[in-house]
């Protein structure tokens, strides 16, 4: 087994870990470090929280004026003038 991860190294691997992009050995080192380190545990929790909160920004709706403009463009396209 290669050397233990430092905190400084671990914080750069969080997305790779969450995406399942680490090798089995690297993922085990990551988890081993977390099991011993409250600081990195907090960091990873905050990373997950950041992802969750970023997801709350989602808005599907266009502003009515923008939607109307696009529908008008569609009608021009349909009538062959755009």
């Amino acid at each position: 087994m290669s050397a233990d991860l430092t905190c400084k190294e671990l914080v750069e691997l969080v997305t790779d870990y969450l995406e399942g992009a680490l090798s089995g050995e690297d993922a085990a080192r990551f988890e081993h470090h977390l099991s011993l380190c409250p600081g990195c545990t907090t960091y990873v929790e905050q990373f997950r929280e950041t992802i969750r909160l970023t997801g709350t920004l989602r808005e599907d709706d266009l502003e009515p004026a923008a939607r109307d403009a696009l529908l008008a463009q569609f009608r021009r396209w349909k009538s062959g003038s755009a």
Binding site: T6, K8, E12, C40, Q46, T50, L53, L62, R67, L70
Partner: protein
């Protein structure tokens, strides 16, 4: 995002000039397309023009759509290409040659190195990050969301595009790579850098250092 259920029916309706089909597509993807446009061009009015131009490209190209990708992937690829072309033309936009160039800067640390000067453990936290001990109402409050929006707005274009599609819209990695034309590993680098900056902005807001 509303699932657009039956793509071939929808594509046929669009080709036939069915306005209801077009409106359904707008309601499913109009908002997210505008957000992606804003990753490349910062000016809201220019982003609106990009979105219009992209939709026109979609309508003019719908005859040629063969369903090799999903309709969503196709729409957003047209949007991303339109936005990129426009960004290069805009004198005042941030210049960039390719999304991969931005990922290439991925070796610099995403957390200030001065936080890892622990005298007993090399590379260990000097002081642990302060937990965000705040109630859910505050996390979901308008002000918190405004901080996240502001942090995303400050990101370089490629990071902004990736975090918008992955974490705001919740898309899978593979589709984001296809739409933006980046490799999986570069996509992860861009996403990680973007998330780290948003986390840091939330930390400054939710757990400010004691004065």
């Amino acid at each position: 995002m509303t699932a657009v259920q039956d793509e071939s029916t929808l594509v046929a309706a669009l080709r036939a000039g069915d306005e209801a089909a077009f409106a359904a597509l707008l309601d499913a993807y109009g908002g997210p397309m505008r957000r992606l446009a804003l990753s490349f061009v910062r000016n809201a009015a220019v982003a609106d023009e990009v979105v219009q131009e992209a939709w026109l490209g979609v309508l003019r190209g719908i005859e040629r759509f063969e369903g090799r990708s999903s309709l969503r992937t196709w729409l957003f690829t047209i949007l991303a290409n339109t936005a990129r072309t426009r960004a290069q033309r805009e004198a005042r936009s941030v210049p960039f040659s390719s999304l991969d160039d931005e990922a290439a800067g991925g070796d610099s640390p995403t957390v200030d190195p001065s936080r890892f000067l622990n005298p007993r453990f090399p590379g260990g936290w000097t002081t642990f990050p302060e937990p965000w001990d705040v109630p859910e109402e505050r996390l979901l409050a308008r002000e918190t969301r405004a901080r996240i929006e502001a942090a995303i707005a400050e990101l370089p274009p490629a990071q902004r595009a990736v975090i918008s599609l992955r974490d705001v819209e919740g898309w899978p990695a593979e589709e984001v790579c296809n739409v933006l034309g980046v490799s999986e590993s570069n996509q992860r680098v861009l996403l990680h850098r973007a998330r780290a900056k948003v986390r840091a902005a939330l930390e400054r807001y939710l757990a400010p250092e004691p004065q």
